[in-house]
C-alpha cells in the first residue's frame, strides 16, 4: 500500500483546536537585539508571556571558540516541584560582554510547558 505523505493528509485534519498556543518561531519567542559601544556589547531580549530564557545558557565565545565572560543580572528562580530551582528570565533579559572581536552568542529557552527550543546561535560582528 502506498503510504500517504504527511502534506496530503494534513489537509484532511479536522482536529479540535488545542487550548495551548502553538510555539512561536525562535526569533519571535526570544527577540534579541544588541548595541556595541567600543568593546562593550549590550544584549537585550524581549519575550512574550509564557516564554523564558535560561540564565546559565547565555554563553559567548570569540572567533577562536574561547569562552567569553558574560555578565548577567540575577534572574527569577523558577521553582519546579519536580526538577528544583533554576534561574530564568521572563519578559526581558539583558547581558553584557566586553570583547572587541566577533562574538558567537548562544542562548536557549522554553515555552512554558510547551517546547524547549534548540539552542540559538548568533554571530555579532567585530566593531
Amino acid at each position: 500500500m502506498r503510504v500517504m505523505p504527511f502534506f496530503f493528509v494534513l489537509f484532511l485534519l479536522a482536529a479540535p483546536v488545542a487550548a495551548r498556543e502553538a510555539p512561536l518561531p525562535p526569533a519571535q519567542a526570544f527577540a534579541m537585539s544588541y548595541a556595541r559601544k567600543g568593546d562593550e556589547v549590550r544584549l537585550r531580549w524581549v519575550m512574550p508571556k509564557g516564554y523564558y530564557l535560561y540564565r546559565e545558557h547565555i554563553t559567548a565565545a570569540d572567533a577562536q571558540g574561547r569562552t567569553l565572560n558574560v555578565r548577567t543580572p540575577n534572574a527569577t528562580l523558577k521553582a519546579d516541584p519536580t526538577f528544583g530551582p533554576v534561574e530564568v528570565y521572563y519578559g526581558t533579559a539583558r547581558a553584557d560582554i566586553r570583547h572587541k572581536g566577533a562574538i558567537t552568542l548562544s542562548y536557549r529557552g522554553c515555552q512554558e510547558d510547551g517546547l524547549c527550543y534548540i539552542p540559538i546561535r548568533v554571530v555579532i560582528p567585530a566593531r
Binding site: 503510504v3 500517504m4 505523505p5 504527511f6 502534506f7 496530503f8 493528509v9 494534513l10 489537509f11 484532511l12 485534519l13 479536522a14 482536529a15 479540535p16 483546536v17 488545542a18 487550548a19 495551548r20 498556543e21 502553538a22 510555539p23 512561536l24 518561531p25 525562535p26 535560561y54 546559565e56 519546579d80 519536580t82 526538577f83 528544583g84 533554576v86 536557549r108 522554553c110 515555552q111 510547558d113 510547551g114 517546547l115 524547549c116 527550543y117 534548540i118 539552542p119
Partner: protein
C-alpha cells in the same frame, strides 16, 4: 490567537506548494517515521495508533510530558509510543541516548529511559546518569558496552531521527506525530487525549 491546530493548518498550506512539484524531499513520509524496527517504543507493539515523539533527555518540558504520556499510554493499552532521540542539547544528551539505546539492545529500554527522565533538572552530567542507573541495578559501563556492540545501527538511527526532525522543521522538543498529524510542543493531558481520539477518527475515516 495562533493555536497548535492553526499552526498545523498553516504548515499544510505552505507546504503544499513545493510538494506539488515533488521538489521537497526532506519532509519525512509517514512510513519513514512510524515504521522503524530500530527505534524503541513503549506500549503495545500491535497498537492501533502510533505516537512518535522527538525528545532530548536534557529538555525539562520533555520530562514533564514523558510521565504524563506514559500514564495515558498505559491506561489506553492500544498505543505504540515510539521514542526518537533528537539530540539538541549536546554531548551529555548524546551520552544519555547511547546509554538508553544500549539498554534497548538488552531489553531494558523502558526501565532505563524512565530512570533518565526522572533525573532532576534540565541539565544532566554523567554523574547524574550513573546515579540514576544505580537505582536500576545497571551501570553506564554495561549499557555503553551494549551500545558499542551495535554502534553502527544505533548511530544510524540517531542520524535518521535528526534528519526527520529537521525535515519537519521542528524548533525544539518535545515534538510529536500522533497518527498522521504533526504537533509541535507538549500537549496537556486533556489535549493529548483529544489528539489521540482525533487521530483514531482520521484513521477510521481513511480506512473506510
Amino acid at each position: 490567537m495562533i493555536t497548535r491546530r492553526h499552526m498545523l493548518a498553516l504548515g499544510a498550506a505552505t507546504a503544499a506548494v513545493p510538494f506539488s512539484a515533488a521538489a521537497q524531499t526532506d519532509f519525512p513520509t509517514l512510513a519513514e517515521v512510524t515504521v522503524d524496527p530500530d527505534a524503541p517504543f513503549i506500549g503495545n507493539a500491535n497498537g492501533d495508533l502510533t505516537i512518535v515523539e522527538y525528545f532530548d533527555y536534557q529538555c525539562s518540558v520533555c520530562k514533564h510530558a514523558h510521565f504524563s504520556l506514559m500514564d495515558i499510554v498505559r491506561a489506553d493499552g492500544n498505543i505504540r509510543w515510539m521514542l526518537r532521540d533528537w539530540i539538541i542539547f549536546g554531548e551529555v544528551s548524546t551520552y544519555a541516548a547511547q546509554v538508553a539505546l544500549g539498554a534497548q539492545t538488552l531489553g531494558v529500554y523502558e526501565q532505563v529511559s524512565s530512570a533518565l527522565m526522572r533525573i532532576p533538572g534540565g541539565n544532566l552530567n554523567k554523574g547524574d546518569i550513573f546515579g540514576a542507573l544505580m537505582q536500576t541495578g545497571l551501570t553506564p559501563a554495561d549499557l555503553l558496552k551494549a551500545y558499542r556492540a551495535d554502534q553502527a545501527r544505533i548511530d544510524a538511527l540517531l542520524a535518521r531521527n535528526a534528519r526527520q526532525a529537521e525535515g519537519f522543521g521542528f524548533s525544539g522538543t518535545p515534538s510529536f506525530i500522533i497518527g498522521n498529524a504533526v504537533y509541535r510542543g507538549a500537549l496537556s493531558p486533556d489535549d493529548m487525549t483529544q489528539a489521540i481520539a482525533d487521530a483514531r477518527q482520521r484513521q477510521k475515516a481513511l480506512s473506510a
